[in-house]
């Protein structure tokens, strides 16, 4: 799993049926200190995340299929939590309230 910042939305009117009704968000992958890694992802949102929030993301197929509830779903990247705060080496590196 990794942390990411939700940076945008993706509108996909024609897609694989396993993704019907799913909300797709564009993510920037983050390093532990909160700085951006040079990677972006598209993820299904299963945690009610919004643009600007930091999220916990799983990027593994079996977990994705469990969440979608279909054994054959071609799903890999799913937002599974919205982050409240993060510490690294005892130091607060992110706080959603501030």
């Amino acid at each position: 799993m990794f942390l990411a910042e939700v940076i945008g939305t993706v509108v996909s009117p024609v897609q694989h049926p396993a993704l019907d009704g799913e909300r797709l968000l564009l993510l920037r992958v983050l390093q532990p200190d909160g700085s951006p890694a040079a990677e972006t992802r598209i993820a299904l949102d299963r945690a009610g995340a919004g643009v600007g929030e930091r999220v916990l993301v799983v990027d593994e197929g079996n977990s994705g299929r469990q969440l979608v509830g279909r054994k054959d779903a071609p799903v890999k990247t799913v937002i599974v939590g919205v982050v409240d705060y993060v510490t690294l080496d005892g130091r607060l590196t992110y706080d959603a309230l501030h």
């Binding site: 996909s12 797709l24 992802r41 197929g61």
Partner: protein
């Protein structure tokens, strides 16, 4: 799962069993600015897309799951046509 643009088609009539009739397309993964990120790759297109289209795709084993027959040697599949991708209020890129 990633954002990409379809940049070409690949025609390979002679191929392994299970992949008959599945279109192959060149895709260029994109970053959050809509700029190329990493190498272009070939993906199976399980929805109707073509060169110039903005798409999202899945890599790894899940690429094969998207295909009509899931036990095929595939490591990337285009899952959807992207009409719009918006980053903080600005449109990142559009399908051509």
């Amino acid at each position: 799962m990633h954002l990409a643009r379809v940049i070409g088609r690949v025609v390979a009539t002679q191929r392994v069993g299970g992949l008959e009739g599945v279109p192959l397309q060149w895709i260029q993964p994109l970053d959050e600015h809509g700029q190329p990120a990493g190498h272009a790759r070939v993906a199976c297109a399980v929805v109707s897309t073509g060169p110039g289209d903005l798409v999202h795709f899945v890599d790894g084993r899940e690429g094969a799951l998207a295909c009509p027959r899931p036990f095929v040697p595939v490591d990337a599949a285009i899952l959807g046509f992207v009409e719009a991708a918006e980053v903080r209020g600005t449109h990142l890129a559009r399908s051509d």
